[in-house]
């Protein structure tokens, strides 16, 4: 296995899929000559030319819609949003066109588009640039939503998303681009809709996704192990559709759950998982489900406030203690 950064893994996925299928093109702000605002598209312009790696004006609604139109007539666009904060401007095209075109046309059209970009806190970027907006897309029928945490999953899920015949919103974490991990050599695909048990355990289930996995939840599980508590860590990887089977299997095994997410607490992916568990595994629970989320405030620029806003290992440990009645 090769050790790659998250951004290199994404870059490999793009390069391999563009090599494999000339219908795939990448479009977005700074993707071509600048090699990507986060260098995910490094070297792709040189390899594939200016019609397949396209620098756009700063017109998120416009180029997202352009991608949807291209997808309706057989191309497979990958639309890079520099960050998902800016994709709010494009949400009309994603929600009203991409997610609805197959239904509105009675099955005549399909929309194989991937909209991908950086999400979450970036480090001292204040409120407009530090948001986790995935729940808004998880809410929309017609979309699939993916949020990988490791380089291997980033590569495998991006390849699967590009090959999917439906619109996929692909959430990368801004603070993960430099993180390294092992990525299997050769053709590596990760099926959309499958969670992954990143650490097996018996006493408590920690459910999470994206950056919280490696930054917060796995370190917390390590600390819990030192205290003699065996935590199982479930990485959702796909947020829509949820992998009900893997979630419930873990809950039925440990009987205690803490959900950790960087996003705000209300109407989030976490609340959706809570709903699922209380409906499908109520009798398995030995304690109310615990949650650790970003605080219900706008992100501040000041370092201390920024840190306090986000989930931490300490907050995860406290939540675990609560569900274990320790």
């Amino acid at each position: 296995m090769a050790t790659l950064s998250y951004r290199e893994a994404l870059n490999q996925a793009l390069a391999e899929e563009m090599e494999r299928d000339a219908n795939v093109f990448l479009m977005g702000e700074e993707v071509a000559r600048y090699n990507g605002a986060y260098k995910v598209s490094q070297g792709l312009l040189e390899k594939f030319g200016s019609a397949r790696v396209v620098d756009t004006p700063i017109s998120e609604l416009g180029f997202a819609g352009l991608g949807v139109g291209a997808a309706m007539v057989g191309l497979r666009p990958v639309i890079e949003m520099m960050t998902w904060n800016f994709a709010i401007l494009a949400m009309d095209q994603i929600v009203n066109n991409a997610a609805k075109i197959r239904h509105m046309s009675g099955g005549q059209l399909r929309c194989p588009i991937v909209v991908r970009g950086a999400s979450g806190a970036g480090g001292r970027l204040s409120s407009q640039h530090s948001q986790c907006l995935e729940a808004g897309y998880v809410n929309i029928p017609g979309l699939k939503v993916v949020a990988p945490a490791t380089p291997a999953d980033a590569k495998g899920l991006l390849k699967a998303s590009i090959r999917d015949d439906n619109p996929v919103c692909f959430f990368e974490a801004e603070l993960l681009y430099g993180e390294k991990g092992e990525v299997p050599e050769g053709e590596h695909l990760v099926e959309i809709g499958k969670a992954d048990v990143k650490r097996a355990g018996t006493d408590v289930t920690l459910i999470t996704y994206s950056r919280m996995l490696t930054w917060t939840v796995l370190p917390a599980a390590e600390e819990l192990a030192k205290q003699g508590i065996s935590a199982e860590v479930v990485d959702l990887r796909t947020l829509r559709p949820l992998d009900v089977e893997t979630i419930l299997a873990s809950v039925n095994k440990t009987n205690r759950v803490v959900i950790v997410e960087e996003a705000w607490p209300h109407a989030s992916v976490g609340t959706d998982v809570v709903d699922l568990i209380q409906r499908e595994a109520f009798d398995a629970l030995d304690a109310p489900i615990g949650r650790v989320t970003g605080l219900d405030v706008n992100m501040a620029y000041a370092a201390a406030l920024e840190a306090a806003t986000q989930p931490s290992v300490q907050r995860v440990l406290a939540a675990v203690n609560q569900v274990l009645y320790r």
Partner: protein, 371 residues
């Protein structure tokens, strides 16, 4: 080059078809067979017919939510359009789309869209795909003058012009965005002039004159097909009915509407030309009128008799499963075996030769060279 006699008669026939169809739709709305929003095209027929007859059948076309007439004139099955309006399973979208979302992909009709201006970027994407695949296809995208005040209009025109996309944008200026007269909310109400801001060709034409419409679209299509980039057309037109069926149209005077109907109706205007130039006799045109009336009566009968959409269709058409084919409406509803469905080159067959931008010359490298 003026349109041939055949084209003139065809345009007359299709405009009458659109008019009679919309009358039937209006009646059916009154009978509550059609519910929800329903926007009639009555008065604007010359715009659509000029575009459809001047373009190739395989050119891509789309519009906003005033979308019954365009696919009808492109060759869609009238009964299946009416069935869609009646929310029946025999409709083009199984009654899931309704009046605002008519799609007939077989006839390269890419739909009706309910968000004002939302289709404008889609058309650029379809034109982008044509250029990407090195096809000589043109995309025509209609919208109302109110859509020209949306960000989607400005963002897309900029990209379409910069990348020379083969797309004709046609602003069907019927003067009222719902109840708001265009001049009340537009700093530059002559929408074709906005093309200047994007260095693209822009022109206005009499949208109540089918011949002018055909000629304008023919020129624009030729210009686009040659690779000169997009065109913004502004059809000066007028709708004879309210914005939608629920609109009493109190924002304009009865005199204004009457004057347009009596002096500027595109159908009598073309009829007059046909008679004056002795292209057709009054009896021949009356026979055409009668025939279109009959087609629309049959469309209503077809829609009346069509089955309701069952709850088994509730969750279908949401996600494409691996290997799932697209639904071909005429095959599904009528058992047609002659449906020609669009097919695209595979990712291995396709060779992309388009150079969207010249290769970069690094500014620093240039400086070095100069020194």
């Amino acid at each position: 080059m003026p349109p041939s006699n055949d084209v003139l008669v065809t345009m007359y026939r299709k405009m009458v078809l659109m008019r009679r169809f919309e009358e039937k739709a209006g009646q059916a709305y009154g009978q509550k067979k059609i519910q929800g929003f329903c926007h009639l095209y009555t008065g604007q027929e010359a715009v659509a017919v000029g575009a459809i007859e001047a373009l190739r059948p395989d050119d891509y076309m789309m519009t906003g939510y005033r979308d019954h007439a365009h696919p009808l004139a492109r060759g869609a099955h009238p009964g299946m359009i009416m069935a869609e309006l009646f929310a029946k399973n025999s409709g083009y979208s199984k009654g899931k789309g309704g009046s605002m979302h008519l799609f007939d992909v077989e006839h390269h009709w890419y739909g009706g869209y309910g968000i004002v201006g939302g289709q404008i970027p889609l058309a650029a994407g379809m034109a982008f795909a044509s250029k990407y695949r090195n096809e000589d296809r043109v995309t025509v995208c209609s919208f109302g003058e109110a859509a020209a005040n949306q960000g989607s209009f400005h963002e897309t025109l900029n990209m379409a012009a910069k990348w020379k996309l083969p797309v004709i944008y046609v602003c069907e200026n019927n003067r009222y965005g719902m109840g708001t007269e265009v001049t009340r909310v537009s700093a530059q109400p002559a929408m074709h002039k906005r093309a200047v801001g994007y260095s693209m060709r822009g022109e206005a034409f009499d949208g109540m004159d089918a011949i002018a419409s055909w000629e304008t679209f023919r020129d624009a299509a030729e210009y686009c097909r040659k690779g000169n980039g997009p065109v913004l057309l502004e059809a000066m037109t007028y709708r004879f009915r309210g914005h939608s069926m629920s609109d009493a149209a109190t924002y304009r005077t009865k005199e204004e509407v009457e004057e347009a109907k009596t002096k500027n109706d595109p159908i009598p205007r073309l009829r007059e030309v046909l008679l004056k130039k002795k292209i057709a006799t009054a009896a021949q045109l009356d026979a055409i009128d009668e025939q279109q009336k009959h087609i629309c009566e049959e469309a209503v009968a077809f829609a009346d008799a069509a089955p309701e959409t069952g709850l088994d269709e509730l969750y279908t058409d949401m996600y494409v499963e691996p290997g799932e084919a697209d639904v071909r409406p005429r095959e599904r509803v009528l058992g047609a075996t002659d449906v020609k469905w669009p097919s695209y080159p595979s990712g291995q067959e396709l060779k992309v030769t388009w150079e969207l931008e010249p290769p970069p010359v690094h500014p620093r490298a240039q400086k070095k060279g100069a020194a």
